[in-house]
């Protein structure tokens, strides 16, 4: 039971970690590329790495925080223009090939000994060289907080039945949300359904923290401060994307995804719109990259091809071409990966799978999951199948 509780706790810690939020934002950007516009960008990690480098290098060289953020975005902007210019007039494969190659080249360049003074080569840049301006902004003060302060351990001494009831309530909440969402017509209007969903969702979050309390420093290197900012940025990104895709410009994106020639025949400049989508999605990638390195360090090798594939798995799991899909997908993806690792560590003997191999095993599962999702449920959890029949 303690093992299970430990695994559950680490799952929730992973689900709310800044890295999850960062990948969620990168996946939101990817959603603009892939989900809404139909651009197959397989180099999102390149955008993330460039954002991280722009941010970390400029702050490390004494520039203010704002300038660092702007330079991170600027690096992604240039990258998008360079990649988009030769490929966006061609069939989709070309963008895929060029982006995956370019992202790897960025990683090689970051690892290169020639640029050690800037990028720290393969060792990377340590967090303490660029983190302080951000940490100093914190108004949470020192000390540490457990969330939620009132949790299962306070009720009847943390007896098993308390937790069982808690999990039954979780199941009830999820069922409730699904039922409310499924009911397309009938009782209650649109507003009522949204209200009920939000209410149940909040209840679910509270229940999670009740069942799996987590403790962090308030400010610290990787404390509540960076988590708070990270998830606020996720919320902000969701708002921006919602406004974008509901605008006339967003309708153009979908139009390009469904039938590029039709949009062209309406007199729209398809190339320019695709380029705008590539740039904007890449900016989200850069933002994700900056957040990703904030609590840790800039390691070119940890932001390689696998990270792009994580973003894709998260996006497709949650549902491409939906607003909340990337976020839901990231949270479930990271929590599930920790669950696989935790279970493999706890219950599979070391002679079959040692600690290092559980890590690799979780990657293998990710790859297989990606294949199975695309084959059997291309719309993911939230998506609409009709939206994903396009071909690039």
């Amino acid at each position: 039971m303690d093992t299970i509780q430990a695994i559950l706790n680490s799952m929730l810690r992973e689900a709310i970690s800044p890295a999850t939020a960062a990948v969620a934002i990168a996946a939101i950007g990817l959603n603009i590329h892939f989900g809404f516009t139909g651009l197959l960008n397989i180099g999102q990690s390149g955008f993330m790495l460039l954002g991280a480098y722009g941010f970390a290098i400029s702050i490390g060289h004494g520039l203010p925080l704002v300038v660092g953020i702007i330079l991170g975005f600027a690096a992604a902007l240039v990258f998008a223009l360079v990649l988009g210019a030769p490929t966006l007039k061609l069939r989709g494969d070309y963008l895929a090939i060029v982006t995956i190659s370019a992202a790897e080249i960025i990683r090689y360049a970051g690892r290169s000994a020639l640029l050690t003074d800037f990028t720290g080569a393969a060792q990377g840049l340590q967090g303490k060289t660029y983190r302080d301006p951000f940490t100093n902004l914190s108004f949470l003060g020192d000390g540490s907080t457990t969330l939620s302060p009132f949790n299962y351990a306070d009720v009847a001494g943390g007896a098993i039945w308390v937790r069982v009831i808690g999990w039954l309530l979780v199941v009830a909440c999820v069922t409730g949300i699904v039922l409310v969402q499924r009911r397309s017509s009938g009782v209650g209007g649109h507003g009522l359904r949204v209200g009920a969903t939000v209410l149940l969702g909040l209840l679910l979050v509270v229940l999670f923290f009740f069942l799996m309390p987590v403790n962090y420093q308030d400010t610290g290197v990787s404390g509540w401060w960076v988590r708070l900012v990270a998830w606020l940025l996720v919320g902000l990104s969701l708002l921006v994307v919602t406004l974008l895709v509901r605008s006339p410009w967003g309708r153009l994106l979908r139009g390009i995804r469904e039938d590029e020639d039709a949009i062209r025949s309406l007199g729209k400049n398809v190339f320019a719109i695709k380029m705008q989508a590539l740039v904007i999605g890449g900016m989200f990638g850069a933002l994700g990259g900056m957040l990703y390195v904030l609590p840790s360090s800039v390691q070119p090798d940890s932001m390689g091809r696998s990270l792009t594939f994580f973003c894709y798995t998260a996006l497709l799991l949650g549902g491409a071409a939906t607003i909340f899909g990337p976020v839901l997908g990231s949270v479930i993806f990271y929590a599930a990966r920790i669950m696989i690792k935790g279970i493999a560590n706890a219950y599979v003997p070391d002679s079959i799978m040692n600690g290092q191999q559980t890590e690799q095993f979780s990657f293998i599962v990710v790859g297989v999951a990606l294949m199975l999702i695309v084959i059997f449920r291309p719309q993911g959890i939230l998506g609409d199948k009709r939206e994903l029949r396009f071909n690039v």
Binding site: L83, L88, I97, V368, F390
Partner: protein, 427 residues
């Protein structure tokens, strides 16, 4: 169909796992100096082009002028633990060096907490000619380039044929190349098979994985009408799963196909291992055979017809599915052969070698024209030459792969259909 896919995935994952279950994972090399958050390590290996140097004294001068000393061990390795960050000077005590050695003497390094900083000091025997003539260097690099190009061509012809017949860009192709090398390690190095027998077996197994993949996954998915974009993402997932299956089985180290060191042969200004010459010969023969088959045999003509226009080919009585099955089989066999030869000539293969190769493969295929087999050959040779020649012509070694990408981007700007591709209106 669903069962087929799951079966394939299981089989792909289990095949190496079962075979390699006995393989212990790579363990970290024990070092005397472990960096901590408040201490840094400076370490290095003293070697000449002939071998390592044991028993040489090294002096490390701290930023505030103190001297620390270390002596190289039997393997020529030395290290020093320091408790301050900053600029250190590493110097060789030349009186402890064997005679007839020249050294640059000292090197400056920046110590950082929590990491091991390598200090490289150049030592050469007095007779060593470091300044080869530029021409010889060019010829040697061109030969290396052609060697790399031929190996790339083996894999990229398959990639191009798959693209031509099915429209699919197979992102897992490079992992199939890696599979060839790693199977070679398992069968020949660990299994103790003869190189030729083992090599043949590797190619057969790889070809079978191609047949099997098409049988249980790609063909059913085509029948189901899954879009090309979706198929491409499936190949991405497959590549991720395969890559980490390799790491699961052989760990993160470089593995070699044969245990003994290869012997070297000089032909004019070109110095290469015997294996490299044989590998080049095999590549040329195989490529010529594939070319002959494509141009002169019935099935080759059928393949080109499907590549041109699948619907028309089907209407004129060609069994398109059969052709595609054959293309997958041959392509994966060629990729496996390419990986095996690659591991032989570069003296080893790693779990993620595929990624570097993938980049070059795509550059080659696009350069030659997506879907054209002979374009892939031309593109591969060009990319191979570019990658190997760019360091000679002044490109820093770390960026030699970047040159391939640069060429790709420039080409897409001026001639998107590739060198041998037919222009079509795209976008």
């Amino acid at each position: 169909m669903g069962r087929g896919v799951v079966g394939l995935v299981l089989a792909l994952l289990l095949a190496p796992v079962v075979m390699l279950l006995a393989t212990p994972p790579a363990s970290a090399v024990g070092t005397l100096c472990l960096p901590t958050p408040t201490a840094a390590c400076i370490a290095g290996t003293l070697r000449t082009e002939k071998g390592v140097l044991p028993g040489v004294d090294i002096t490390v001068t701290t930023p505030d002028g103190k001297d620390l000393t270390a002596t190289t061990g039997e393997d020529g390795k030395w290290n020093v633990s320091v408790d301050k960050e900053g600029a250190y000077t590493v110097k060789i005590d030349e009186s402890t060096l064997p005679k007839d050695l020249k050294t640059s003497g000292e090197v400056k390094v920046q110590a950082k907490f929590g990491v091991t900083i390598p200090a490289l000091i150049e030592i050469r025997t007095a007779s060593y000619q470091s300044s080869e003539s530029k021409l010889d260097e060019l010829i040697q690099s061109s030969a290396n380039g052609i060697r790399l190009g031929l190996l790339l061509a083996l894999a990229s012809i398959g990639l191009s044929l798959i693209y031509g017949t099915t429209g699919l860009s197979n992102f897992a192709h490079a992992e199939q190349v890696g599979l060839g090398g790693i199977l070679g390690y398992e069968l020949i190095n660990r299994g103790g098979l003869n190189l030729w027998v083992g090599g043949l077996l590797v190619v057969i197994i790889c070809a079978f994985t191609g047949w099997f993949q098409d049988r249980v996954m790609w063909q059913p998915l085509r029948r189901r009408g899954l879009g090309l974009t979706q198929l491409m993402i499936v190949t991405i997932g497959l590549s991720l799963a395969l890559q980490y299956t390799f790491q699961y089985t052989v760990g993160a180290r470089t593995v070699r196909v044969v245990q003994d060191n290869p012997s070297v042969r000089e032909v004019g200004p070109i110095t290469m291992t015997n294996q490299s010459f044989i590998a080049m010969a095999i590549s040329i023969v195989v490529i010529a055979a594939v070319g002959y088959a494509l141009l002169r045999t019935r099935v080759g003509r059928a393949t080109r017809a499907v590549s041109d226009n699948p619907a028309l080919a089907a209407a004129s009585g060609i069994d398109v599915d059969k052709v595609i099955r054959l293309v997958w089989t041959v392509a994966m066999g060629l990729a496996g052969l390419s990986g095996l030869l690659y591991a032989l000539v570069t003296n080893g293969i790693k779990w993620d070698s595929g990624m570097q190769i993938l980049l070059l493969l795509f550059a080659a295929v696009t350069l030659g024209g997506l879907g054209t087999a002979f374009g892939a050959l031309v593109g591969s040779l060009i990319i191979g030459l570019v990658v190997e020649l760019s360091p000679v012509l002044g490109m820093p070694g770390d960026f030699k792969y970047a040159t391939a990408l640069l060429i790709l981007i420039l080409l897409l700007l001026v001639r998107p259909q590739g060198l041998l591709g037919r222009p079509e209106r795209v976008g």
